[in-house]
């Protein structure tokens, strides 16, 4: 289990990470969401012991992350960390050695993974000859080359085509099956939605939301109603007591309730109106994100 407690980091005068706490249980996937410059990468770097936190501590299975644990961690940096003049194999060899692997292990694991992505022909190509997406695949391969227990992926899907995203997704889910702990960041909500159970939303270095994805969806969806039909003014006024009403064209109304227990009340109020549709909305993570980060700005 990875525990992050009250983590803070200053860059000069600016506090880029502000009292961030969260934990990930072994065998779970945590999606970290945030705008550009929200502090995601900095948090990762602190977990990886590249940067020292100014405040707070990070524990992995109850102990501090240092050189002893580092071999058990896989990392895909956001900025490309590949050296142009190396071939793919040389790169794997170099970084694999950094994780105390033997040459044979590196070779075997690398070819297994290259086969998974069906890019075996790249093994002896130089990094500079690869496209951005292929470089990303190589980075991903390096991140999981040494069969790590904890995998940290910073923007793993950037620059990938949909097919490769599918490959990545499958491999990540497979790793999860094997009991690996995975943390990854993204600003594309759909990718987070399809992979994670837990989400962490960071904005301006602060944790805005940290909970189970299904729970939050449940909470959000049950609070929003989509109603189509002719509703009289007095009824609308009555409904507006329970929540905010957004009028849409063609007699459509979106009702955001303050409390999900009010669904029945609204339903009862509508018995005399001509209703063609009444549904409890299924919100996407995107809406939640916009809602959370948006409201923060209104404060």
């Amino acid at each position: 289990m990875l525990e992050v407690k009250n983590l803070s980091k200053f860059f000069g005068i600016k506090k880029v990470v502000d009292n961030v706490s969260f934990s990930v249980e072994n065998g779970k996937i945590l999606g970290v969401l945030g705008k550009n410059g929200a502090g995601k990468s900095t948090t990762f770097r602190m977990i990886l012991n590249i940067l020292e936190p100014d405040e707070g501590e990070i524990l992995y299975n109850g102990e501090k992350i240092d050189s002893k644990v580092s071999d058990k961690i896989g990392y895909l940096p956001e900025v490309g960390s590949l050296i142009d003049s190396y071939t793919v194999y040389e790169q794997c060899l170099y970084y694999g050695k950094m994780k105390s692997m033997s040459e044979e292990e590196i070779k075997k694991n690398m070819f297994d993974l290259l086969e998974r992505f069906s890019i075996v022909e790249y093994a002896n190509m130089k990094i500079k000859e690869l496209s951005k997406g292929n470089k990303q695949k190589i980075q991903f391969i390096i991140a999981i080359l040494h069969d790590p227990e904890l995998i940290i992926l910073d923007e793993p899907f950037s620059g990938l085509d949909p097919v490769s995203v599918e490959y990545f997704k499958n491999i990540i889910l497979e790793l999860k099956e094997k009991g690996k702990t995975i943390i990854f960041s993204s600003h594309i909500m759909s990718q987070v939605e399809m992979l994670c159970e837990d989400v962490l939303i960071i904005d301006n270095g602060r944790v805005i939301l940290n909970c189970n994805l299904n729970d939050i969806k449940q909470e959000y969806s049950s609070k929003t109603l989509d109603i189509t039909g002719k509703i009289s003014k007095p009824v609308l006024n009555q409904i507006s007591v329970f929540g905010k009403i957004e009028e849409k064209p063609n007699n459509r109304y979106i009702v955001k309730l303050a409390n999900k227990e009010r669904i029945n009340d609204v339903f009862r109020l509508l018995y005399s109106s001509e209703i063609t549709k009444f549904s409890v909305l299924n919100v996407s993570l995107n809406d939640i994100f916009l809602d959370k980060v948006g409201t923060k700005y209104e404060e």
Binding site: G12, L48, N49, I50, P77, I83, Y94, K97, N204
Partner: protein, 748 residues
């Protein structure tokens, strides 16, 4: 496990830098060069072969009446088909011009004390190996003759000779013998070369790793300290490998030369026999040098790592290397300066890390270092390495990951301040303030330098110019040249300033009303200048520092109409035009947007500075304030130009016509009249202003203008003008100039 990773990095790096096409190309080139250099004679003779075969054969003429050596020489060359040995009786017939490269003349004569005496004559360019062989043959003949005569065995003679040579090398005078000095110079060059190689390699790899961001991944596995160690070691190892390759090339080249050499059974020996130099001292010297070099290269490698990590491009990395190399050069030169005598300072410097690499070996070879000193230096050097690693760790990591190293306490609401437009604009303003400091500083430096060197050039070439131009007296030529130097020295920096004046400041006011205003300011300016003059002359008298400038300028010594005109031009007209352009247009124009008070003070300080002497400084400063105010009020050039002209012109007139009684009287009255008129106008205007201020509204208005917070902020921001390096140099330059000139003047 940890050390395995370090080893992995080192192996990876060394392998990569050796299995690299550039390395191979460089080394092939080195191999060829080494072979060519060490086989130059062979190659030369090879080409001779093709051109003219007969040329290769050497004929040795021996004049040996007593048959002391002829047989032996024939014996020595018997295997060499290219060499003919002939006996001759008339060696004098060959004179120097006739001698070809393929002829060697030997004149062997018996001698009572030396047993045998020989003179060998050959043309420069003759292969040395023949000469060496002849020499050694003659030596062995001598040895045999001694052994026969004194009843000694050849081995005994050998022993005697050896003792003699050992004796020779041990004797060393205070400055070391020449061969050891040469050794020390060569080894220092070698150190320098190795250092350069190592540091530039480190700089390149570090900046490459930074650029590729691979460091991001590597630092998840090892610490920054380990990374630095592995990088420095891998570069050192690469250089070592290169060194080994070099040795291999030398051996290859020597072998080739052995194969090609005609006899095949003796190796090429240089003129300076190595055995002559090598003794126990030299070996210890090499050991000490090696130890200190290895440690120092490591230490400098660590420093280089940190510096390179801070760079953002390969080019900058090169500059960082240049910095360290410059430090090394300075150290090397300091060693050369200090090594002559033993001094307590030398002793202290010699144990400081980095310096010790140059000091200790050189002091040792010159016999000045004792073992205690060497051990102390070594211990300090050894201790400095882990210390440097610990110190280097953090800055290196921050730099290579591009993180701001400063950790400030959080200020409440700092984000809000940072995201305001005012704040960001102020930051830009600060940068532009720094640029203003640079431009003004540069202009002043340029002015001072041009003036000083112009003066030097004029005085150097004065004689030669005046000898070619006869119709003008030397003093007048001097005046003309000074005028030219003055104009050039002000106009060039003015052009620099002009290019930085904002467009909107370049415009001048126009209109009739404006002209009246300007005239008003000119009139009230005259009495104010007079008052300032009085105050200054009083102050100078009290302080006793001042020197009469007109006297030192030597204005009294000039006579003649042309001189009068020239002096008037030099003292009154040209400064009025060009100094005003430089200060009131250039500097005021640039500073204007920084606020009026700031502009007035800084511009008048610079005005005072360019007068280059202390007695004028105070006066020029005060007048500068007045002129700057007038310039800002009227926004035109000519009022201050006229005032400047009047002030300087009066001084010149007084100096030139001091003996014309009537003229001087009229002139004095005129002066008093001008002052009186100005004074009246000044009082009138002051009265008007006072009345205006009595009005309460305008007081309120005035107070509003004096927003203290804003002024304070303005001052803080404007200080960034002075935070520029060029400006600092300007201040130092002018301060030293002032002191120096003051000293010169006081002596005069």
């Amino acid at each position: 496990m940890k050390s395995n990773k370090i080893v992995a990095i080192i192996k990876n790096d060394v392998e990569r830098s050796i299995k690299n096409k550039w390395f191979v190309i460089l080394n092939l080139l080195l191999l060829i060069v080494t072979i060519v250099v060490l086989n130059f004679n062979n190659i030369k003779s090879m080409f001779k072969d093709e051109e003219n075969y007969a040329d290769d054969s050497v004929t040795i003429y021996v004049q040996d009446a007593q048959n002391l050596a002829y047989e032996q020489i024939v014996q020595a060359f018997i295997n060499d088909i290219n060499v003919d040995v002939e006996k001759t009786d008339n060696i004098q017939n060959y004179n120097n011009e006739q001698l070809d490269a393929n002829i060697i003349l030997i004149d062997v004569q018996p001698d009572d004390t030396e047993y045998i005496k020989a003179s060998i004559m050959f043309k420069d360019g003759t292969d040395n190996k023949y000469i060496n062989l002849i020499e050694s043959t003659l030596n062995s003949i001598k040895d045999r003759m001694i052994s026969e005569n004194k009843n000694l065995t050849l081995q005994e003679i050998e022993q005697i000779k050896q003792q003699a040579t050992v004796e020779m090398t041990v004797i060393a005078n205070e400055h070391g013998n020449t061969s050891q000095n040469g050794l020390y110079i060569i080894s220092n060059y070698l150190i320098f070369f190795i250092l350069l190689l190592c540091l530039s390699k480190i700089a390149n790899t570090i900046s490459q790793e930074k650029m590729s961001k691979s460091i991001e991944y590597i630092l998840t596995s090892i610490t920054a300290k380990q990374y630095i160690i592995s990088k420095v070691l891998s570069v050192c190892l690469t250089v070592l490998v290169q060194f080994i390759f070099m040795l291999a090339y030398i051996v290859i080249a020597l072998m080739i030369s052995g194969i090609f050499s005609i006899n095949g059974n003796y190796t090429y020996t240089n003129d300076i026999s190595i055995g002559n130099i090598i003794n126990s001292d030299v070996i210890i010297y090499f050991l000490i040098t090696l130890v200190f070099m290895c440690l120092t290269v490591f230490l400098q490698g660590v420093i280089q790592c940190v510096m390179s990590a801070k760079t953002t491009s390969i080019q900058e990395a090169g500059n960082a290397t240049f910095l360290l190399i410059t430090i090394n050069l300075v150290l090397y030169m300091v060693v050369n300066a200090f090594s002559a005598g033993s001094h307590i300072l030398t002793y202290i410097i010699s144990v400081i890390p980095l310096a010790s690499m140059y000091f200790i070996p050189s002091m040792f070879i010159l016999g000045q270092a004792n073992w205690v000193q060497i051990v102390i230096a070594l211990v300090i050097l050894l201790a400095s390495i882990p210390l440097s690693l610990i110190l280097a760790q953090k800055p290196f990591k921050n730099a290579i990951l591009d993180f701001s190293p400063k950790k400030n306490k959080r200020i409440d609401g700092i984000e809000k301040i940072l995201s305001t437009r005012e704040y960001q604009e102020r930051m830009i303003e600060r940068k532009s303030s720094g640029k203003i400091g640079l431009v003004i500083g540069m202009a002043v430096i340029l002015l001072l330098i041009l003036q000083i060197f112009g003066g030097i050039i004029v005085s150097v070439f004065l004689d030669s110019i005046s000898s070619s131009i006869t119709f003008i007296s030397q003093s007048n030529i001097y005046l003309i040249l000074s005028c030219i130097v003055f104009v050039i020295s002000i106009y060039i920096p003015y052009l620099l300033l002009k290019s930085y004046i904002p467009k909107e400041e370049k415009k001048e006011n126009k209109g009739k009303e404006d002209i009246i205003k300007c005239i008003k300011y000119i009139i009230i300016g005259i009495p104010i200048i007079s008052v300032i003059q009085m105050i200054c002359s009083f102050a100078i008298e009290k302080m006793g520092v001042g020197v009469d400038v007109t006297e030192t300028l030597g204005l009294f010594n000039y006579t003649g109409k042309l001189s009068t005109v020239l002096i008037f031009l030099q003292v009154a007209i040209l400064p009025a035009i060009f100094e005003e352009l430089f200060v009131r247009k250039g500097i005021v124009g640039i500073l204007k947007k920084k606020g009026a008070i700031f502009t007035v003070i800084v511009s008048s300080l610079i005005f005072a500075t360019i007068h280059m002497n202390l007695s004028q400084f105070i006066f020029a400063f005060l007048v500068g304030i007045l002129f700057a105010i007038i310039r800002l009020k009227t926004n035109r050039m000519y009022p201050t130009m006229i005032l400047h002209f009047i002030n300087n012109g009066f001084a010149v007139v007084e100096a030139l016509f001091y003996d014309h009684m009537i003229f001087m009287q009229i002139f004095t009255y005129f002066n008093i009249l001008l002052n009186a008129v100005g004074f009246c106008l000044l009082i009138y205007m002051a009265y008007n202003k006072f009345m205006e201020l009595k009005d309460k509204d305008s007081i309120q208005k005035f107070k509003e203008q004096l927003d203290y917070r804003k002024i304070k902020l303005n001052i803080v921001e404007n200080m960034f003008v002075f935070k520029d390096y060029t400006f600092l140099v300007t201040v130092i330059l002018s301060a030293t100039l002032f002191i120096a000139i003051e000293k010169v003047l006081s002596i005069m």
